[in-house]
């Protein structure tokens, strides 16, 4: 039987882990950052769709969704990958997103959320000593990304600029 290449989808403020030959994708990243952590040797990869930079922003005692915040998502994703058999020291990262979708005259902190997400994600990667192997961040356009565990390539689609590969 011919097996179809399975693509696992990750929603907004969510995360998931796949093994080769599966691919993993998330759609419509704007100010959010898609973070892929992967271990090439074992073909294990995870993707987190990060919405906010810091879990300190979690207000009113709301239930903490770890995948939503950069500082909790990357630690959690890393743990999940290690539990699935990835070697911590071999983990690399590719990231995309963090756009500024709208320009406003009065730039509050919230409106600058894209760049802040990118900064926070990079800080976390450094904290865990994970090498950033590629990035496509900033700008003012949305992105859909798909990571191929067989090639370790991240495919990035935008509306006006076509497809890029990291």
């Amino acid at each position: 039987m011919v097996s179809l290449m399975e693509v696992v989808k990750v929603g907004i403020a969510d995360m998931n882990v796949v093994k080769a030959p599966q691919s993993i994708r998330t759609t419509g990243l704007g100010s959010c950052v898609g973070v892929v952590l992967y271990d090439e040797t074992s073909g294990i990869a995870g993707l987190s769709h990060v919405m906010l930079p810091d879990s300190a922003l979690n207000k009113d005692g709301a239930k903490l969704n770890k995948a939503k915040f950069a500082d909790t998502a990357i630690a959690d994703l890393r743990d999940c990958l290690i539990r699935s058999g990835a070697i911590p020291s071999l983990l690399k990262a590719k990231i995309a997103g963090g756009a500024q979708m709208f320009q406003f005259a009065s730039q509050s902190d919230v409106m600058r959320i894209g760049p802040r997400n990118v900064e926070a994600v990079k800080k976390e990667l450094q904290r865990f000593n994970i090498k950033l192997a590629g990035e496509d961040v900033g700008g003012n356009n949305g992105r859909t990304i798909e990571f191929d565990t067989e090639t370790s390539l991240l495919h990035i689609r935008t509306v006006s600029k076509g497809e890029a590969v990291l």
């Binding site: 929603g11 207000k59 756009a99 979708m101 005259a105 356009n141 992105r143 509306v159 006006s160």
Partner: protein, 213 residues
């Protein structure tokens, strides 16, 4: 406890009425602007996860023309006016009388972008001012911003405030339709009103139906 758990049917009806009045005024403006009949669907109030919110707008990857503004003042929130690409292009033709204008492919003509921004400005302005009158609250719109991109990227922006207190959005959704338009399956004109979480209390209080507990 999140607002989404404390809200009753009465509150939902109040929010529907807000959509009814606001979008009703916007539909009238649109009708005047285009000199056409514009239908408005009965508004819906949905309590949805962020992913469901994207599905309502045609899926995170669906490309739309959007006008987004922040509501400032007594009851802050976000407002979106979303149009499919072909619907936006039709509106453009009727507004400007120039059949060469299009928003289906970039780079976009300056005139097309400017006209679209003005359309969004007028519609969201009339939505918001009728809402301010109805609730007796001070509500000010930011300058509306236009973006033509994936729904996920656009609407995700309006969820930032909400996402700090909840994984759910309460969205007041009103669909506008130019009368006689054909394609039934595509997303047409949609107003999404997304009040920031503390604004619900303010809105309900101003209309005499406070939230208990």
């Amino acid at each position: 406890m999140g607002i989404e758990q404390r809200i009753t049917n009465l509150h939902l009806d109040v929010l529907k009425e807000i959509g009814n009045i606001g979008a009703g005024h916007a539909a009238t403006s649109l009708s005047t602007l285009l000199n056409r009949k514009v239908d408005m669907k009965v508004p819906n109030v949905h309590i949805v996860s962020f992913d469901e919110m994207m599905e309502m707008a045609g899926g995170a990857e669906n490309v739309v023309v959007s006008v987004f503004l922040r509501i400032e003042g007594d009851a802050p929130g976000s407002m979106f006016f979303l149009l499919s690409l072909d619907q936006a292009t039709r509106f453009l033709h009727q507004m400007t009388g120039d059949p060469t204008l299009s928003l289906e492919e970039s780079p976009y003509a300056e005139m097309a972008v400017s006209a679209m921004q003005e359309l969004g400005n007028i519609l969201s302005g009339s939505y918001l001012s009728s809402l301010a009158n109805f609730t007796n609250l001070n509500l000010y719109p930011s300058v509306p911003a236009l973006s033509i991109d994936m729904v996920g990227a656009i609407v995700g922006y309006g969820l930032i405030e909400l996402s700090q207190t909840s994984d759910y959005a309460i969205v007041i959704d009103t669909a506008l339709n130019e009368e006689g338009s054909v394609k039934e399956n595509s997303v047409k004109g949609h107003f999404f009103l997304l009040p920031d979480p503390p604004s619900f209390e303010t809105i309900f209080n101003s209309l005499g139906v406070p939230i208990n507990g």
